[in-house]
């Protein structure tokens, strides 16, 4: 029992040090700007189709699924605002973050893990390139900044999907649909949801990098690192989401 606990605490301590190192490295001057842009492209732009399709389907399905209940209460006209509220507040951030956890965290974990296993990271260190700066900082920063933008895309596409879903049974003009969505939206719906996506992105990037950076042993550990990265990142997204919602609820 004690060795197990000790191991867990060691893991937590190592992870905390990893995060601490990230904040230390990010303020120190040589910044790998080109690598950062490349990672942004890989994380953000390349994930866009996936996120858009998911967001669209979520909006569409949510509208169609909510309609019977709303009709029962005679509140069919509230459907656009209800769907957009739940999309923007909760569903789009979480679903997008989970998709990104699957795509980005596993990618980073596998990439860094294989580099670690094949001693490329050691080689970098030898050739006077800070591997942490070059590999980890750029990726975490890119994930932190790109996931929120992906969530915004998912919001827009998801609300549009809701419009399509509404028009499956009823008819509503695009302008009226969006004005109804905007009318019931508040900054309190948009801003906390946007802020928490930065944390989602940060944890996706950090966990992916940590798992990859700490892979050890043979090639089997690469797969292990990728798998562990996805699981841990997904779990951390839900935990962060819960904390964020509670904190938002506390203050507003």
């Amino acid at each position: 029992m004690v060795p197990f606990l000790k191991e867990q605490f060691t893991q937590a301590g190592k992870f905390s040090m990893f995060i601490g190192r990230f904040f230390k490295e990010i303020v120190l001057p040589p910044f790998q700007f080109n690598e950062f842009i490349r990672q942004c492209f890989a994380i953000g732009y390349k994930s866009l189709p996936l996120v858009s399709i998911t967001g669209f389907i979520m909006g569409l399905v949510l509208t169609i699924q909510s309609r019977p209940t709303m009709t029962k209460f005679g509140a069919e006209s509230w459907l656009p605002s209800m769907v957009s509220l739940s999309l923007i507040r909760e569903i789009a951030p979480v679903v997008t973050a989970l998709i990104c956890a699957g795509k980005i965290a596993s990618g980073i974990g596998a990439e860094l893990g294989s580099m670690k296993v094949t001693s490329q990271i050691d080689a970098m260190e030898v050739s006077a390139i800070n591997p942490y700066k070059y590999l980890v900082v750029t990726r975490i920063l890119a994930a932190t900044l790109m996931v929120p933008i992906l969530v915004i895309f998912a919001d827009v596409v998801g609300v549009f999907g809701g419009y399509i879903g509404y028009n499956v049974h009823g008819t509503i003009g695009l302008q009226r649909y969006f004005s109804e969505v905007i009318e019931h939206l508040d900054f309190l719906d948009l801003l906390p949801a946007t802020i928490k996506t930065f944390f989602f992105g940060f944890f996706i990037g950090t966990i992916g990098c940590y798992k990859g950076f700490n892979a050890s042993g043979g090639t089997a550990s690469v797969g292990l690192a990728a798998n562990s990265a996805v699981v841990t990142a997904s779990l951390s997204i839900f935990i962060v989401d819960m904390l964020a919602v509670q904190i938002t609820d506390l203050f507003f």
């Binding site: 080109n34 732009y45 933008i149 009318e183 508040d186 948009l190 946007t194």
Partner: protein, 320 residues
Amino acid sequence: MKKKADYIWKLGMFVIIGLAAFLVAVYFIGKSQNLFGSTFHLQAQFKNVSGLKTGNNVELSGINIGTIKDIAFVSDSAVVVNMVIRSEIQHYIKADAFASIGTDGLMGDKVLTISPGSNSDQIVKDHAMIRSNEAVGLEDLMAGLKKSVDNAEVITKQLSEFSFKINNGKGVLSKVLTDEHFADNIDQTLLNLKTTSDGFVLFSKNMNDKNGTISKLMTDPYYANSIKKMLSGFETSASDINVFTAKLNQGKGILPKLISDEKLANSFDSTMTNLQSGSKKLLEIEEAAKHNFLLKGFFKKQKKAEAKQKKKLEQSDKVK
């Protein structure tokens, strides 16, 4: 480097579109809450805002013109609502406009409605306090309803008591409604009334008959004349009697004296006394005569005859 330029514009496009979407959303949300554009402020004081919240809409003629900015207490029974309204609406709101709190739909959000006043030409000023109409809260409605329900309860209770008494009591009404005998009586009464009225009809018919006495009395001028004559005759005799009694009262004949003279009455009285004493003396004389031998036989005869008469009467009684 060529490869870098290939993807960098895609990344830029991705980021810019994402940020633009975010900014557009922020702008529209802000616009719907009147955070942008020129606005002016109005205030209204309420006793009870019944759930109005910051951010609720302000309506004029059913059009959304602004939002509630804040709600603050000014005393224990007064709340000031501060609202932000679009500037271009300002000249439609006059100084005597008043604010009231309603509900958007049956279950929707609270809405502050500004209603135009009657006859002011003055445009409302920025930060002005406008009048307010207290909202009819659900509690007031319920209180009113409760009162009428209570009243209805009392009324129905009394009504039920009343009808119970009617059904089971022994009063007149109960008898009227339930007693068969009474009904029969009424029936009989009505029947009697009917025959009476029939008789009356006949009677009046007879009365109207031209040859009847009453009809003649009513209509024949001859009768009227004779009645008139009779009445005048009565009158004259009455006046004669009047004269006669006056003479009686004042006259000096025997009759008036007899009626009114005290002296005469006294002398009459004494005469009567004298007469009384006279007759007494006469009885004494008669008694004396009975004992007189000369007259003894006469009296005896008389006694015998009396006894005989008596016997005869007794015998006839027995025969009967």
